[in-house]
Amino acid sequence: MQIGRNQKMRKSKKFDQLVKNAAGRIVPTIVNGQQMVPYMGIGKYKPTGRKAAPMISSCADYPPDGNKVVPSLKEALIRCGLNDGMTISTHHHFRNGDLLANQIFDIAKELGVKNLVWFPSASFPCHEYLIKYLEDGTINRIEGSMNGPLGKFTSEGKMKGLGVLRSHGGRYQAVQDGEVHIDIAVIAAPTADAFGNANGVHGTAACGLLGFALADSQYADKVVVVTDNLVPFPCIPWQIHGNYVDYTVVIDKIGIPEKIVSGTTEITKSPDRLYIAELTARFCDEAGLIYDGFSFQAGAGGTALSIGIYFADILRDRKWKARFARGGSNKYLVSMLEEGLTDYILDGQTFDLDGVRSMRDYPNHVNTSPFTSYNYHGKGNFASLVDIAILGATEVDVHFNANVVTHSDGYLLHGIGGWQNCLFSKCTILPVPLFRDRLPVLRDEVTTLCGPGELIDVIVTERGIAINPLRKDLIAKMKGSSLPIKTIRQLKKEAEDICGKPDNPGFLDEVVAIVKWVDGTVLDAIWRVDK
C-alpha cells in the first residue's frame, strides 16, 4: 500500500474501511477519500518511491530586483490562485499570539472560497475564531492539531472533514512524502526582506526561529511571507530562504508579542509536582542516565522545567556538563548555556524572551527544524540521539501506552507536538501525577493511543516509579534503590483505591479524527463523544 497524494475528493467519504491495526486499535483506512496505511508496528512500515517535489520555477517569472512585495495579504492570496479545496498552511511559532491564520480565512470567506483544508503546525485558543468558518464550509477540516475549543468542536462531530493529528516530525514527513500537498503556505515572519528571506530573531514579534515553516517553504506550490518588520536585503539570518518565496506582504502587526512568548514560563510552585520532579531527577541519577556529556530534552511544563533545574544542580556539583540540551528553550536552559552546564542548545521553539535573545546572540544556541530533529523518513534524526526525554501525558495505561490528545472523558483537547518524535530517545520518562483531582492518570487502557508502550520506559508519579518491564537494564540498575519502585499495576491500583474506578466515556460509531504515527500510518482513531 502506498500513501497517496492529497486528492481533493469532496464528495468522498469522511472515513471508511475500518480495520484493526497492529496496536489493536480500530482505524479507518480511507480518510477524507484518501487511502491510509494502518499502523504496522514500530519501524515496520517502509515507504518506497521518491519524495514529493514542488514545481520547477524560473527566475524569469520573478522580479530581477528581488522585490516580491505585494500590497496586501488578500492580493497575495489571489495571486497564489486561492481556490476551493486548497490546502493552506501556517506555522505556530506565534503560539497564542498568532494574528495571521484568522485573517487568511476572513479573506477566503470574503472571496467565497470553500472547502479549504487548514494545515497548521499547531492550533491555539486564539483560533477558536475559525469555528464559524468550519461551520459555514469555508474550512472543510483541520490537519494539524485541534486544541481546546477546536478539539471540542471536532469531538462533537461538527467538523465537515475528518481531522488528522500529526506530530511535528509527522507533519514534515507527510509533506515530504506527498501525503499532504500544500497549495499555499503563509509564513508569518518577525523580520523579512522584500526577497522573502525571513527570520524569527529580530522584530517586535520575535519568536526565535521559524523551523516549523521549513517544510512549507520547501514543498508548497506557493509561498507567502508576511512580516511587520521589512528590512533591506539581506535579512540575516535567513532562516527561511527567499528563494522559495513567491510574495512578500507587509502588514501593521503580525502577532501579539506578549502572547508569542508567554514570559511566565516558571518552575512549578506546586509541592507535589516539585516532588515528582525531584524523584525523576534522582531516578535519572541513580540509573546512571546522567553523565559528563549526556543530553536531555525537557519541555516547558512546570514539572519539566524543575527537572532541568535538578539536572543543572547535579552537573554543577560534579563539574560535569551536558553536550546538548534540546529545547523548547527558556530562561532556565539559557542560564545553563551561559553557566557552561551545556555545550549547545538545539532548539525547536523558543518559549520566552531569554530564549529569543540567546538564539540571536549565541552561536551555540542553534535553531533546528522538524526535518533535522524529528522526521522519521530521513536518514536518521536527532530525537533518537537524546539520552533522556521528559514528556507529559493525559493518560498512561498498564502497558505503558500513553495518550496526549484526549482526556478521559473522550474530548480531544491537545495536539501531539513533538511528543511522539521524542519517544525515540534512549530513555523516555513520563513524570505524571497519579491522579488529577479525581481522575486517575493510570488506566487499564488509554482513551486514545498516541505513543506505543514499548517506547515509554519510565513513569514517575508522586506515589511511586514504574519501569517498563522491557527495560531489564534499568530494572537491574535500580535494584536496592531507596526510591519507591513499583509495578505499573500497583500504581494503577493505588490511584483507583483513592479515586474509585472511573467509567469509560460513551462514544458514537463515528470517527472524527485520526492520530498518525511518525511514519504516516494510522495509529488510532478519535470517536465522536456521546453527549
Binding site: 509541592p271 507535589d272 516539585l274 516532588y275 478521559s408 472523558d409 473522550g410 488529577r436 483531582d437 479525581r438 481522575l439 508522586e462 506515589r463 531507596s482 483513592i498 479515586c499 474509585g500 472511573p502 467509567d503 469509560n504 466515556p505 460513551g506
Partner: protein, 407 residues
C-alpha cells in the same frame, strides 16, 4: 419553598472539592442534581454515594444539588453529611470505611521535627500531604478555618482521618480553643488520631478538660489507644503558666509556642531575629524540659524565604527546641536538615555508644570515655542521636564496622 443549607466550596481555583446545596421540599422522594467536572467518569458513582447516605441517614423531602470540582468520595460524603446535620440536626453519622493502614499509634518520644499545618476545610491540600514525609500532619480546625465554615470542616477532618493515607506521619488535629474545641473532639477521638493540639493554652485546666473529654469519648467508642496532647502557648499568661500546663496530663508529650499571637499579646511585632520572643521561647523550652516533654517552636511564615527559614531553624535548635511547625511542604526538608544531628554530634555520640557497649561486654558498672565518666542520660541521648542519624540516612547502619576498621 423550604430553607436552604449549603456546605463546601466552589468557583474558580477550587479543586478536589464540591459545593452541596440542600433544600427541604414537600415531595418525599429526594430530588438529586449532580453537576460534576468528572461527570462522564464518576457521575453515576457520585449519585450512588448520595443515595447511600440519604438512605443511611433516613433523609427524604429534600432537593440536593451537587456542584463538584473533582472531589474524592470522602469529601462528597462529608459535605453532604454536614449539610444534612445543619438542616435536620440529626446526630446520626455516615462514616466512610477506615483505611486499615490508618490504625497506627505513635510513641511518646517519637521524632517531632516537622509538623505540617493543613487547613481543615481545604481537602485538596490534604490528599497528597503524606508524600512529603513530614513527621506530623495537622488538620487544623482553628485559625485556618473561617468561623462560618467551622462546622462543616469537622466532617472533612473526620473523614480525612479515616480515609487518607498519610504514609506514617503522626496524625494530628488542632482543635479550636477550649471550650469550643471540646466539641471538636467527638469528631476526631474515635478515628485513630495520634495527637491533639490545644491552641491558646493559658491554664492547666484547659488541658485537663480536653484530657477528660478524650477519656469519656474513648470509653464510649470502646477504644483505648494513646492520644497525645500538645498544648500551644500563645500569650503572656500562657508563658507564665507553661510549666503547670506541661504537667497537666500524662497525655502531654510536647509543648509548642505560637509566636504570631504571642507577639500581638505583648503589643509588639515578630522580627526575624526574634529578640522579642526570646524570653517566651526560653520559658517554653525550660518548662518542657523540666516536665520531660518536647519543646516545639512556632512556624516560619515566609514560605519563599528558604534561607530565612534555615537560619530560624538553626536558632531554634540552639535554643533547645526539638522541632517546629511548617505551613508548606517545601519547608519540611529544610527543617529536617536543620534539626538533624550534626557531624561532630554524631561522632561524639558514636564514641559514647561504643564505650557504653564496651563497658557492658566487660561487665563494668561505669561507662568511661578516656578519663571522663559518662552518666546514664548522656548514654541514652547518644543512643537516640545514633538511631536518628541512621534513620535519616546521615549515618550508615553499619557505622560500627567502619568505626572498628579505623582502629
Amino acid at each position: 419553598m423550604g430553607s436552604v443549607y449549603t456546605s463546601g466550596n466552589k468557583g474558580k481555583g477550587i479543586r478536589s472539592d464540591c459545593f452541596i446545596t440542600l433544600e427541604k421540599t414537600r415531595t418525599k422522594t429526594p430530588e438529586i442534581l449532580v453537576e460534576s467536572k468528572v461527570q462522564v467518569m464518576y457521575g453515576k458513582d457520585i449519585r450512588k454515594l448520595i443515595d447511600r447516605i440519604l438512605t443511611a441517614l433516613k433523609i427524604d423531602h429534600v432537593k440536593i444539588h451537587v456542584e463538584d470540582s473533582g472531589a474524592l468520595p470522602f469529601v462528597i460524603a462529608a459535605r453532604l453529611e454536614s449539610v444534612i446535620r445543619m438542616a435536620f440536626g440529626t446526630k446520626k453519622e455516615f462514616l466512610p470505611d477506615l483505611l486499615p493502614q490508618n490504625k497506627y499509634h505513635t510513641a511518646r518520644e517519637r521524632n517531632r521535627f516537622s509538623r505540617l499545618y493543613l487547613p481543615g476545610n481545604t481537602p485538596n491540600l490534604m490528599i497528597n500531604a503524606g508524600i512529603h514525609k513530614p513527621d506530623g500532619i495537622i488538620l487544623d480546625l482553628e485559625d485556618a478555618v473561617a468561623p462560618d465554615k467551622k462546622f462543616e470542616a469537622r466532617f472533612i477532618v473526620r473523614n480525612a482521618l479515616r480515609t487518607l493515607d498519610f504514609y506514617g506521619a503522626e496524625r494530628m488535629v488542632r482543635i479550636n480553643q477550649v471550650p469550643m474545641g471540646l466539641d471538636d473532639l467527638e469528631f476526631i477521638v474515635p478515628h485513630y488520631i495520634n495527637l491533639i493540639l490545644i491552641p491558646k493554652c493559658e491554664h492547666a485546666d484547659q488541658v485537663i478538660q480536653v484530657s477528660k473529654k478524650i477519656d469519656t469519648l474513648q470509653k464510649t467508642a470502646k477504644v483505648n489507644y494513646s492520644i497525645w496532647l500538645m498544648p500551644i502557648i500563645e500569650s503572656a499568661l500562657g508563658v507564665m503558666n507553661a510549666y503547670p500546663i506541661a504537667l497537666a496530663s500524662d497525655k502531654v508529650v510536647a509543648m509548642a509556642i505560637g509566636l504570631e499571637d504571642y507577639t500581638a499579646d505583648l503589643g509588639t511585632r515578630r522580627t526575624p531575629d526574634g529578640t522579642e520572643s526570646f524570653f517566651a521561647r526560653s520559658m517554653v523550652v525550660n518548662a518542657a524540659r523540666a516536665a520531660g516533654i518536647q519543646p516545639i517552636d512556632s512556624v516560619f511564615s515566609d514560605v519563599n524565604d528558604m534561607e530565612g527559614l534555615k537560619q530560624n531553624v538553626i536558632r531554634s535548635k540552639a535554643l533547645g527546641f526539638d522541632g517546629m511547625g511548617c505551613i508548606h511542604p517545601r519547608q519540611i526538608k529544610v527543617i529536617h536538615e536543620g534539626f538533624a544531628p550534626e557531624a561532630p554530634e554524631i561522632e561524639k555520640a558514636g564514641k559514647i555508644v561504643l564505650a557504653y557497649e564496651n563497658a557492658i561486654s566487660k561487665g563494668l558498672g561505669v561507662v568511661a570515655l578516656g578519663s571522663k565518666m559518662i552518666d546514664a542520660p548522656v548514654v541514652k541521648r547518644a543512643l537516640k542521636t545514633i538511631d536518628l542519624a541512621v534513620s535519616m540516612g546521615i549515618l550508615n547502619a553499619n557505622w560500627k564496622e567502619s568505626e572498628n576498621e579505623k582502629k
